[in-house]
């Protein structure tokens, strides 16, 4: 059901945890299936220098959270905003169709964290 890449990220999730003084935090959840993802960003000079996540959810939810943190590290905010849920799923060699809907919220969480950073910056 899950690809080897999904299982790899599920078994060995990258960048798990919190950033103590994160300057951007985004949390999203699927109210029905219950998955919750929280992404912490450390942005310096418009570039994501550190990223961590915490997730309550199924295998797909954990794997997509892990993958998005890998994809986004070192990118500018503009580049990061171009990452979509679809791109995260593709980077994992695909997800079962029902998981796209309920468990692939990773890019949404990332975008929300960027918004949070920008709104803080704007004061």
């Amino acid at each position: 059901m899950y690809t080897d890449k999904v299982m790899d990220h599920f078994q060995n999730p990258r960048n798990v945890g919190e950033i103590e003084n994160a300057n951007g935090v985004g949390e999203v959840g699927n109210a029905v299936c219950g998955d919750i993802m929280k992404i912490y960003l450390q942005v310096e000079d418009n570039r994501i220098v550190d990223v961590k996540f915490k997730t309550f959810g199924c295998g797909a939810a954990i794997a997509t959270s892990s993958m998005v943190t890998e994809m986004v590290k070192g990118k500018t905010l503009e580049e990061a905003l171009e990452i979509t849920n679809q791109a995260v799923a593709e980077a994992l060699d695909g997800l079962p169709p029902q998981k796209m809907h309920c468990s692939n919220l990773a890019a949404d969480a990332l975008h929300k964290a960027i918004q949070d950073y920008r709104s803080k910056l704007a004061g």
Binding site: M7, F10, Q11, P13, V16, E27, N30, V32, C33, G34, D35, I36, M37, K38, K54, T55, F56, G57, C58, G59, A60, A61, I62, Q98, K99, H101, C102, S103
Partner: protein
Amino acid sequence: MVQLKRIYLDHAATTPVDPEVLEAMLPYYVESFGNPSSIHSFGRETRKALDQARATVAKEIGAAEPSEIIFTGSGSESDNMAIKGVALSYREKGDHIITSAIEHHAVFDTCKFLEKQGFKVTYLPVNGEGLVNPADLKQALTDKTILVTIMHANNEVGTIQPIAEIAKILKERKILFHTDAVQTTGSIPVDVHELGVDLLSLAAHKFYGPKGVGVLYARKGIRLTPVIHGGAQERNRRAGTENIAGIVGLAKALELANQKLPETSKSLTELRDYLIDNVLQKFEYVRLNGHRTRRLPGNANFSFEFIEGESLLLNLDLKGIAASSGSACTSGSLEPSHVLLGMGICHEIAHGSLRLTLGKSTTKEEIDYVLEVLPEIVNKLRAMSPLYNNPQRKECASCTLTK
């Protein structure tokens, strides 16, 4: 390379075929292959096996006569046949059916289907342990009630319902009573006379018989509109050439299960309690779902707060342990188990359920292995969860968790 242990703790889903059962079945694939509806010697041979199996099943469940046994393709088919069959045959008498909120989908969805056909269905609530209150049933009865269908024991949480007590109420009112005994047959005593039911469903693969064969017991005199039309098999109640090898296997498996029932039930109950006691002791924020003692011998069902069930299952599988969960992500729908929600368990906690169902081959060493690997998995997932150690998390008033 170290060989990974493989531990099967999903016996409520299915059981392996007992070698003795398989041995009884084998001649009916290549040697005695005749169609039991044929009048030649090949057909007569399998007809004999069919009659014998029917008599065995009747005896094993306390039916008055073999003609009360209808062989079907599964427990789900038996449930469908009982509910739709009665509903369609007795429609002139009434259009009201009563069931519970925590039935298996084979019953639940059949009732939903009948609602669309104009029947009225009452879904009785259950308490936090999954028990139906007979007083609620009494209150729900109307002059139009034609059928009550309440499961003998729940497939997810293992709670055993007060079937005999309910049967007494219904007998006085002359209302037909069906019970889905798919999870109980072979695990606890199932006797249609003692239970007082008019219809009962069971399936072979839950008690070390083959998959794809079930039974509907229907007390003599009950009218049943067929669900499958075609031939005149099963006294015109279920068309289709009988699955002879499967039926022979079902009868043999039931005989064996009942013979060994007292000893397997005792040892499974001991192992189950050992597992439950240890899990409740080892973890905080864990809940036992279902009744503490009034439950199936091999059933243990827990909810681990802050964790999602599928992640728990995948991690256990990576350690070689096969289990199941009522989590939304394993059900194919987005909603977690309707059984857990029906018991008043909130969404967050229902998502983190884990069902471990033990079987006759389960050993204490296997349970110890589960108890050894589970803390590492639970701790890893909780450390990853944004809900754990979150002071703002919502407390679920209806769910009591050990802390």
